[in-house]
Each structure stands twice: as structure tokens, then as C-alpha cells.
Amino acid sequence: MNLFTLHHGWADAAMIAAIVVSATIGDVMIASAMRTLGDLDDIRSQHGLIGAILAVLLSPRFVLGVIFMSLSFFSLLFALSHADLSLVAPASASLTFVTNAIAAKFFLHENVDRRRWIAALVVCAGVALMAM
């Protein structure tokens, strides 16, 4: 393996890490915002569609989550312009499953039982296999 290949590998890893970290923070912030608001169907039936949209848009956690999701989106665009889709999309998607499960347990206090851990890991393995 020459120096260029090694450098290229680190660059790909850094781009994928940027997508995974920003996507995980964004997902957790948005999930936390939606959990705090409650069922959107109930809000819509009480306050109408505009009321439901306003309730979401006025949540500071949602806004912060969208900022991190935007960071993740632009990191994805940047990565796609340098690396192959068959590497970036499955690698970032599969790693995000695991980091989200860890973050959901500690920050959202979700009951991530054995069933969900196994599902997250199996999906992660499945996505990795599909990239081969």
C-alpha cells in the first residue's frame, strides 16, 4: 500500500466520520424534540396542520438538530464528490445505526433491549455486505 492510498483511506474515513457524528447528533436532537412535543397527529387534530408545523419549528432542539443534519448533508455532498457512493452511503448509514443506538440509550433514555441491539447490528452488517 503506497502513501497515496493510505492518505486516501484516511481522507475517506474522516469524511465518513464527519457524516456519522453530525447525523447522530442531529438525529438525537430531533428525536428529543419530537418526544418532548408528543404525537404530531394529536397536535394536528387539536391545532391544525399550521399549529403542528409551528410547534415543530419553534422547538430549539429541533432547530439545533436541523443545523447538525444540514452539516451532515453538506458533508455527504462533499464526500460524494470525492469518494464512491458504494463506499460512502453504506459505510455512513451502517455506522450511524450503531452510534444512534448508543446515543439513544444514554441521551434519550430509550429502552434499547437485546432485540434492538441485535437489529441495529444485523442491519449494520447487512448494509456493509450490500456494499461489497
Binding site: V28, L40, L54, M130
Partner: protein, 147 residues
């Protein structure tokens, strides 16, 4: 405490989450391939890339994905929604196989099998963790009485 909050309509919303995300990503990839590599010194090119038709269509699909994703997170856990909607990867692979007649290797079929099994596995479990004191009552101005 976990419980199931899923109905047929909610499974449909998860289906929209599953299909629109990978299709949107694929369109973004096609668009970015046409735009070409973006240099770190010219990041503003990413803004101009948004004007590409494939990227615009990709963004439209990702908006559909995002609104259904938000709705699903309001009645289900993140660790339920993500594996359950991962069936989208399988849908895209099957479309590539039967519509575009792309070759799918045995490893990919194994990946498809694993994802399908994981989706079936998580879907049989509870979808929502009940955490006391997480819901803040929504305070919006009451609608004006019609005159």
C-alpha cells in the same frame, strides 16, 4: 416501559421514510457526479450544485423523507424507526435488480436477507419507550371564535 403504538397508517408513514431516503440519496449521487469533485477551497460550489435537476429532485424526496421521519419520531423510538425503515436499502437493491437488470452478487443477497430479517425482528417488538414527564403540554394561542 415499552409499548406498541403502531397502526396500519403508521406503517405506511415508515414505508415513505424507507423509500424516499435511499432514492433521494441516489439522485444526489447522480447529481454530484455530474457536478464533479468539489475542492475544500471552493465549498461555495456546493451551493451552486443545488441548482442541478437531479439534486433538486433528490432534495424534494429528502423533504418528503424528513417530514415523515419527524412524524414517526413523535410516536416511535429512534432505535425502532431506524432499523424498521432500513428496508429501503433492500427496495433500492431489488429495483436495481429487476428494473435496471443490474447484477446482484451473493454477498449482496446475503446483506438483503440480513436487513429483511432485522426489520422483521425489530418490528415484532415494542415501538415506544414510555418515559414519565417528557411530554410538555403544547401552548399555542387558541383559535379565534368565528364571527
Amino acid at each position: 416501559m415499552t409499548r406498541s403504538t403502531m397502526t396500519f397508517r403508521r406503517w405506511l408513514v415508515l414505508g415513505v421514510v424507507a423509500v424516499t431516503a435511499p432514492l433521494g440519496d441516489t439522485l444526489l449521487s447522480i447529481g454530484m457526479t455530474r457536478v464533479g469533485p468539489v475542492s475544500l477551497h471552493h465549498l461555495s460550489e456546493l451551493i451552486y450544485a443545488i441548482g442541478t435537476p437531479q439534486i433538486l429532485l433528490g432534495i424534494a424526496l429528502l423533504i418528503c423523507f424528513f417530514s415523515s421521519y419527524l412524524a414517526s419520531l413523535s410516536w416511535a423510538d429512534l432505535t425502532f424507526v431506524l432499523p424498521a425503515s432500513s428496508i429501503g436499502n433492500v427496495i433500492v437493491a431489488l429495483l436495481a435488480c429487476f428494473w435496471k437488470h443490474e447484477h446482484i452478487s451473493p454477498m449482496r443477497w446475503l446483506g438483503i436477507l440480513l436487513i429483511t430479517a432485522a426489520v422483521g425482528f425489530v418490528a415484532r417488538g415494542p415501538s415506544y419507550t414510555e418515559i414519565p414527564h417528557t411530554h410538555k403540554p403544547l401552548e399555542l394561542e387558541p383559535e379565534a371564535e368565528p364571527r
